[in-house]
Amino acid sequence: MHVIPQSWSHLHILIGVFPTFGLLIVFGFYFAGRRAGDEFTQRICRILLVLLALLGIPIYVSGIASAADLAGNPRYSPDAISTHYFWGLAAIGVLAIAGLIAFVELWRTWLGRRLFSLSGPALAHATAAGSSYANVPENTSSAMVAAEAAGPSYSARAAQSRGVSGYRRISAKHLGTWNSSSLLAGFAIIALALTVVASELGFPINHHELELAVTIPDISTPQAWSHAHLILNHVPTAGFVFALAFYVTALVANNDVLKRGSLVLFVICGIAGVPTYVAGTAAMWALTQPTIPEISKAVINSHRDMALWSLFGLAFTGATSWIELWRARSRGQFSQRSLNLILLFAIVTLAIMTETGHRGGLINHPEIRLATDILPTDANAGFSMSLETLMKDMIWFVPWQIVHFFGYCLIFGTVFAVTLRVFGFWKSIPFAAMHQLLLLGFIGVVMNVVSGMMMMFADSYRYVVSDTTFAPKIALITIGTIAVLWFSLSARLWKVKAGENAPRGAKWAGAVALVAWAGVIVCGRLLAFL
């Protein structure tokens, strides 16, 4: 099998998704950088935006070339291609404008000054002035809070820039609120919306299976699952590429805001792995039962085997990232050894995911196959099929189910205790103590993702497709996990001392977490009945 693209279509489907997920992630980091008053992070975001705009060139060229390659093939309708072309061109155009604005901003605030004449202390001043020109922190004290939370090495730099930005705030006010940053944000948001539309309209070119509407009770599966999997799989994969890029930049530049941001992104990729895998399982049933010409269960199984390894990789990277974020909160700094370990996990995980994504692409992209590609043919081969057989045996199933029950006791007990504190029923303890306790809930989540996955193998069609409460359960797990992640990250909540009230935002998060996890238990318990 060839991982390196050897056709225009292959290149196009490989790089075409990066602008959408790249833009989403740039927004996240830009927001984090702005909140922390960190000019470096914002600058990296502008650089990435320029790079995404430049990526538009190979996307455009490969798109045009693949349209020419596919022109005579009856499988690919010219109408679908021209609709995708129209929206794709619009998306690339707006993305180019956003990239241009980002480049001008970079030039004015940093690159131009750096290239011409400025050096030493004058350069430092120029950088700080640049930060105040485009992004005066609205509330300097909140920037300081974030800076303190981010760690000592960071505070010094923030303090230095604070003095300058305080002085420069007046000139920024004169410029008015309509500055190039809002213009950039506007274009980037439009570009994001257009790339979403263009990608969505790219599916009908090749993915004809999504239009199938077979409804045989207890046999068929709605193709909405395949569609959901096609979208969701890019969160952990494309998201992970950006997370790793930001992470390496953070380690090289030793920037704590970027480190924190990319660790959070690793955790989010890990969380997103769960709905992606579940949607993939449903998609497997949708594509194999009843069978669809050209789609082979053996090829799907080889993708599914690798996807299980990806899930473990994502879980390892996400879990170690979360533990490091959690430890750094009380220690005040990251441990270099843990950061290096996470880097190692991330690189291995990315390699596994590349292979997984590639095998996924082989399921239904005949246009990228080469004569030398040998596709698997035995539908019963592989690790996943063996696990399926094993888990159907009660002796294997019941122990995992017991683990699952202990796991949910850990999660719900922790969430309930944290909610008690946040709502003021256990005010005698500081929130920092609750933060320590979050580790218990985290262990519960890891236990249950693993045991839940094992249990799903036993009868995945029944769980994922027949049982109506499974999809809401997975959605609620995602929401509940993100709420708990928020508890572990919030700098303001961390500072709440014994006897003090938690901020209003924490009460909302507490309510969301409690309702989501109670909902998970309810949906899980009802699986057997509805």
Binding site: Q401, F412, S428, Q436, I521, V522, R525
Partner: protein, 158 residues
Amino acid sequence: MLEWLENTSFAAWVREDVWGWPVALTLHALGTALVVGFILIIGLRLLGFFRMIPVTSLSRLFPVIWAALLLQFLSGFTLWMSKPARYVADGAFMLKIALIVVGIILTLQFYRTVNHEAGSWEAQGTVSARGVRFVAAALLVWGSVLIAGRLTGYLGSI
């Protein structure tokens, strides 16, 4: 007597209505999470984890356990009365009931010990051997109740 219980209209509703059994079972699952979860939190704190939580504040968590135990009794009784004879004939179920009786007495004593001794534990920075024994026993008993309860669900089919 078991027969009379099984023939009450409430038992019939739990058995036959689409919602009766699932609702009781779901409430039972939520209660399980609170009892086992909170026993674990209290136990692990006394074993030396999560040291930022003052030992003296742990007694605040016991009312939640009492409320959850009440919920467990009501929902559990409802589940049991739908087919009492079959449950009584199940070994795992009878073991579970025995363990629950032990567990409740143990937890009451545990609560009294925490209430009386938490101040001195806090002052000394360590938990007495008696306290540690209570923790070990409570974790063991309630963990076993959970496992026996899970096996009860299979009603002798294992």
